[in-house]
Structure formats: structure tokens, C-alpha cells
């Protein structure tokens, strides 16, 4: 049986209390949300925090609510709450889709959106969808708060710009422009309990239903140290009239934008091939949704 090392544990009732605690603990304290990542790492001995600060009793961190026509999601909302939320499903189906393919139903009932972001795994499911949606993350520290784009938050596998005394409190999704559609596809060896071999999220915005592409976002996951933009694919799409040929061209360019590795989950060449397929498919779905939708919807 895998045992957990010894540590102390507190459940502050408010955010200021949690922030004061983390600041006092300096680097020795770690936030625990759902624990589905942290406890596995602690059991395997890769992290050994002396003190865990649980956010479960901090008020207001689980709300999913409207904000300026978009959505604000508390960092402690669980992945299943996001996957099942009607609000998320109707406003940002790409996010709901990525949430419903994370782990298993059992994991989703504990895993939080905040944990999925801060853990900064290269293959994490929510970040690609959140990045194409233009998400911002709200970080609060004892003395300062900042709200920054999620795009640029990650610095490498397992690392990001968050500081040890900071807590991720909310994820903010700006409202989508009209004629916008998106998609997220992940491939693994099986449908559940599988870290992505490769994944892609795309979002397209048209100027009118039969118009040209005015905004294109293509984000790839598990094929580089962090989720990355397929920048040359995005560039090739903007200003163009959507077509299958255009999407095939963008997909081929996306292959060159990634830097996959070979590991036990898949070979680099296979991953590159899959990037091509996933980008093509997500763009087609994004285009169909963008064309069919009158209002903003991603």
C-alpha cells in the first residue's frame, strides 16, 4: 500500500486567513484542492510539503456565475460541476467537452479546475480549451492581487508564474464574439483514465455566417513542454474564407508548430500525425458551429 508521508493540515475559513497562513509558511506550505494530483505525487514521494492548506472551507471559491456577459468560475469548482453545468455547456461547450474527458467520473468528482491549471501538466485537459477561450486567471496573494491571461501562465512542465504564497481564486472567460465556434479533441489509448497522447482545441470567429475568418485560435497539448499555440496555423487561417483545403493547410502547418517527444504513451511521429488530424477535425467543427450560431458561442 502506498502511504502518505507525515504533514500538518489546516482548513482556513476565509481567503485572507488562507493567504496569511501560506505567507507565514513561506515555501513549506502547499495548497490542497481536490488532491487528485497532489496526493498521488506525495504518495510517490515526488513532493513532500510539511503543511497542507485546504481551500475546501473557503467561501465563494466554488461558484460558477455570469460576469460581463462571460463567465467567472471559482477555482474550487470540480471538473464534474463544470462538465454538468448548463451554463458552461451553453456558453462555452468547448470547456464542457474538455472537462468531460478528464480522468474518470470518480476523479472528476474531486478534481478542481484550479488544480488542473496550477499543476501545469503538459497534457492537462482544461488549459487548451481555456486558452482558446481567452481565459484570465485571478491570483491573490497576501499583499497583492493580479489578473493575467492564462496564455503565458505556463513556463514548463509543472511550472508556471504563480508564486508560492498565491492562490488561484477565479477563472474568467470573456464573452465570445458572434459567429464563434470551437472544439476540443483528446486522443488516448482508451476513453477514460487516460492522459492525452495528443489533444487540440480550436476556436474560429467569422465576420458573418458565410464570411471570412476574423479570429483563429489553435492550441495543442501533450506535444510540447506546455500547451502551445499552433502559431503558423493560426496565421494561415486569419482573413481567409473557411474551406476544407484551408483547414488541411493549417493542419499541416500545425505539425511544424509542435515539438512532440516519444514516451510510453506514444511516438513523436505518431503524435505529429495526430496533431494534423485533430487540428483538421476541430477546425471543421468550430467552423460549422460558428456558421450555425447567431450569437457568441464557443
Amino acid at each position: 500500500m502506498l502511504l502518505l508521508p507525515k504533514f500538518d493540515y489546516e482548513e482556513p475559513k476565509s481567503l485572507p486567513e488562507a493567504l496569511a497562513m501560506l505567507s507565514e509558511l513561506k515555501g513549506n506550505g502547499k495548497v490542497i484542492a481536490g488532491g487528485t494530483d497532489l496526493l498521488v505525487n506525495m504518495k510517490k514521494g515526488t513532493v513532500k510539503p510539511a503543511f497542507l492548506v485546504s481551500l475546501r472551507k473557503v467561501e465563494g471559491l466554488r461558484e460558477i456565475g455570469g460576469e460581463n456577459g462571460g463567465l467567472a468560475i471559482g477555482s474550487h469548482a470540480t471538473v464534474s460541476e463544470i462538465a454538468d453545468s448548463d451554463r458552461v455547456g451553453s456558453m462555452f461547450p468547448v470547456l464542457a467537452r474538455s472537462a468531460s474527458c478528464l480522468g474518470s467520473p470518480l476523479i472528476r468528482n474531486r478534481a478542481t479546475i484550479g488544480g488542473n491549471i496550477v499543476t501545469a501538466r503538459p497534457a492537462a485537459d482544461l488549459p487548451p480549451a481555456l486558452i482558446v477561450l481567452g481565459a484570465y486567471v485571478e491570483l491573490k496573494g497576501k499583499d497583492a492581487n493580479r489578473t493575467i491571461p492564462l496564455d503565458g501562465f505556463f513556463t514548463g512542465p509543472g511550472t508556471s508564474v504563480i508564486e508560492s504564497g498565491e492562490v488561484l481564486t477565479r477563472i474568467i472567460l470573456p464573452s465570445a464574439p458572434p459567429f464563434t465556434g470551437g472544439d476540443y479533441i483528446k486522443i488516448g489509448h482508451r476513453a477514460a483514465l487516460e492522459i492525452a497522447i495528443a489533444a487540440a482545441a480550436s476556436r474560429l470567429t467569422l465576420d458573418k455566417p458565410d464570411g471570412v475568418i476574423v479570429d483563429a485560435r489553435v492550441v495543442l497539448s501533450a506535444v510540447a513542454p506546455t500547451a502551445i499555440h499552433a502559431a503558423s496555423a493560426e496565421k494561415a487561417l486569419i482573413g481567409q474564407r473557411p474551406s476544407e483545403e484551408l483547414f488541411a493547410k493549417a493542419a499541416a502547418l500545425a505539425e511544424g508548430d509542435c515539438s512532440p517527444i516519444t514516451d510510453m504513451r506514444g511516438g513523436a511521429e505518431y503524435r505529429r500525425d495526430m496533431v494534423n488530424t485533430l487540428v483538421k477535425r476541430t477546425l471543421l467543427k468550430a467552423f460549422n458551429d460558428a456558421r450555425d450560431m447567431k450569437g457568441g458561442n464557443a
Binding site: 502506498l2 502518505l4 490542497i32 487528485t36 470518480l106
Partner: protein
């Protein structure tokens, strides 16, 4: 330092002093003597440790007992009513959905939890709801059939 936690397990209230590094699986088995909850992998992959926590099935090997303070837990011991088995348990027994039995508590809890939310699931929905529970013996087919049969019996 140990912490005092209060929680409800199978409709009984408990107060237990637990070390922060004990998982819910450990406390259910070692302190409460509820040996129906199994530990397989210990890292969220197999579902043998499944319990229902505040209405939702979770991997109890990845829940700290201190995180269960104030919560309501159902384990496999709380599924039957006295001597009468839950329809899911009945069909598992009758239809050969149990071989070694190690996965069974978790399978039954995930299945009963599905049927509460969705009384008439499709085969796909059954497979999806059980996708966090691994079985090394049955090949799943009989488990899926047992859940579908239980759903039919619960209708009438």
C-alpha cells in the same frame, strides 16, 4: 498532530481522531472496521476504493480523512437494506458479474449512483459511469448487463 473529525457513514455518526496523512480508505478500514472498501492501486486508477461522498462516487484512496470532516459517506456496507440486497447487488450475484469480487464494492457503488441520477441509462452511459472502476476478471460484459437488468427491475 491528530485531528478530530465528525462524519456520517452509512447513516451512523462517528467522531474519530485521525492523523492528517491517513486516507479515507484507511480510516474506513482500520478505524471503522468497514472492510468492504478495498485498496488496489492507491492512486486513483482502479476504483476499488470507491465510496459515495456527499452523494457522489469518489476514490477514497485520494481523499484525506480530514477532508471528509462533516461529510456523509456511503460504503458498500450501506447499500443493502437489512437482509435484502439492492437490485444491483441481486443482479450482480445472479448474472455472474462477480468473479474474485475485488472490484465489486466499487462497481456496485458507481452503478447505484448512476441509477439514482439516471434510472434508465443506455449501455454507453453504463460503461461511461463505470469507466473509473477496473475489473481484471469479468471482461465487463456481465457487469454492464447486470446494471441494465437492475435498471429494468427497479422500474417496476
Amino acid at each position: 498532530m491528530k485531528k478530530l473529525i465528525t462524519f456520517t457513514v452509512n447513516e451512523m455518526g462517528y467522531e474519530v481522531a485521525v492523523a492528517p496523512n491517513k486516507t479515507l480508505t484507511q480510516v474506513l478500514r482500520d478505524d471503522l472496521d468497514l472492510l468492504g472498501t478495498k485498496e488496489g492501486c492507491g492512486v486513483g486508477d482502479c476504483g476499488a476504493c470507491t465510496v459515495i461522498m456527499d452523494g457522489k462516487p469518489v476514490n477514497s484512496c485520494l481523499v484525506l480523512a480530514v477532508q471528509a470532516d462533516g461529510s456523509t459517506i456511503k460504503t458498500i456496507e450501506g447499500v443493502a437494506r437489512g437482509d435484502s440486497l439492492h437490485p444491483v447487488q441481486e443482479t450482480f450475484v445472479e448474472m455472474g458479474a462477480i468473479q474474485c469480487g475485488f472490484c465489486t464494492p466499487g462497481m456496485v457503488l458507481s452503478a447505484t449512483s448512476l441509477l439514482e441520477k439516471n434510472p434508465h441509462p443506455t449501455e454507453h452511459e453504463v460503461r461511461e459511469a463505470l469507466s473509473g472502476n477496473l475489473c481484471r476478471c469479468t471482461g465487463y460484459q456481465k457487469i454492464v448487463e447486470a446494471v441494465q437488468e437492475a435498471s429494468r427491475r427497479m422500474k417496476g
